[in-house]
Amino acid sequence: MGGFLNALPGAVSQGLIWGIMAIGVYITFKILDLADLTVDGSFCTGGATFVVLFASGVSVPVALLAAFGVGLLSGLATGLLHTFCGIPAILAGILTQLGLWSVNLAIMGMKANVAINVINPENLDKLWVSLRFVQDVASGKRPFFRHPIFIVGLFTLGVIAILYWFFGTELGSSLRATGANSHMARAQGINTSVTTVLGLMISNGLVALSGSLLAQYQSFADSSMGKGAIVIGLAAVIIGEALFSRIFRNFALKLLAVSLGAVIYYVVIQAVISLSNINANYLKLISAVIVAIFLSVPYWKGKYFTKAKKGVRADA
């Protein structure tokens, strides 16, 4: 139990970082109504870009922006494969993801992982988030506002604020209309190809940004760090919706629910690791089963648990 409590701040920090990725998944899965599998590749692209740039002396904000930029490009690739080349969205995402595997290795100089030298205190001080700051804040070596929960929390709120503004604009509304009803969107003069590509770009930009934060947090990027990211993202979206949909109706709060969903997912996973002696290699299987069950529930509800009420007219 003590081990779990000690691990809690770290789990919450990581959950918040994955939450930004989950918000990206929310944009494609919920708003655009597309399943975009680019995520598993673009997450690592963001992380790799950040680490390589930072190691070569680029400042943190510039490296983060660059990571966001490569995410936009990954989304652009999937978007063009889907709209311009007419490839189904799922397959377009898989193709980009596959291609990104090589791109990610190339970014990392054909190595499976690259690290930030955090033994060097000068390097460590420059970072915005790090696993080590969790301990440092606890022991009083660093002020509270260097805590990853605080910094990533601010990041999350910033992302939510920008998205809230964007989806209220004419352009953002046309993106929502594209996901809600593409026939209607085209009849209203919206170029649905453009809005779809734009949505995929923003989504993958956020995913890559999240990857760069995780790489920074754990001080390395790894070619397999994005594996299963889409499932974590979906889990966060679903958990957030299941727990908060009744109280969070505003769009900004719905995005917050996704972020909280990711935190809850990570805390639960951490609890499973700490409180049982399960081999951590089974985690992906557990995640897959949990997400499969959550995705099935609404279907089962409609199919098996909805009974016609006797003697009550449907229109009554």
Partner: protein, 264 residues
Amino acid sequence: MLELRNVYKTFNPGTVNEKRALNGIDLTLNEGDFVTVIGSNGAGKSTVLNAIAGVWPIDAGSIVIDGQDVTNLPEHKRARFLGRVFQDPMTGTAATMQIQENLALAKRRGAARTLRPGITKKEMEQYREQLKTLDLGLEDRMTAKVGLLSGGQRQALTLLMATLQKPKLLLLDEHTAALDPKTAEKVLNTTDTIIRENHLTAFMVTHNMKDAIAHGNRLIMMNEGKIIFDVAGEEKKRLTMKDLLDKFAELSGSSIQSDKALLA
């Protein structure tokens, strides 16, 4: 206002499902024309409408709207000329968005979508007034999701959306076919009012001969991808059901009794 010249369209060419849907359509609509289009299933009524809207490219011919050749324009670029209402009430609106958001999207038809607000306070007031004219109480539910509305309410809303930006041409694709008779009549009356008050040019496909006779100033009958009968003005006003049935038998060479769809 609208000119179709020798328009051809074949679906699934070269397969067993090959279907020659439009077989040389020539049609000129004058400004202010309200044309009703009838014909049996598969006659090409909705296909003509989709050709005008640009849902897919046509095989041959040309389409000119208000002096501009739109033959090669994609659907979303033609949208600025066209208001559209579909057969399925689900098609014309975004169910997961608010009533006022749907209206705001339609208000911007033909304009570039920028980073300005998607809807303003001033617009909301304007929409409230316009919703009142529908007489469905929607002005008090402006932030409700459109998915909560009935089919008739959605069609009425779609009609309003189609005319927020005055279209050069209003395309109505059997827009009352999915409604119960009473609601259908109400929506048709709204249609008449909107077309009259905005002096719109309209093209209404219908399955219902009575409606085709009762509405509009011109009537077109289609069969096998061709326009076989085109009547306007006083002659159209004097048309009866029997005239139409006789005409159909005469021109298509098939008996109307075997074609219940036309009678529906």
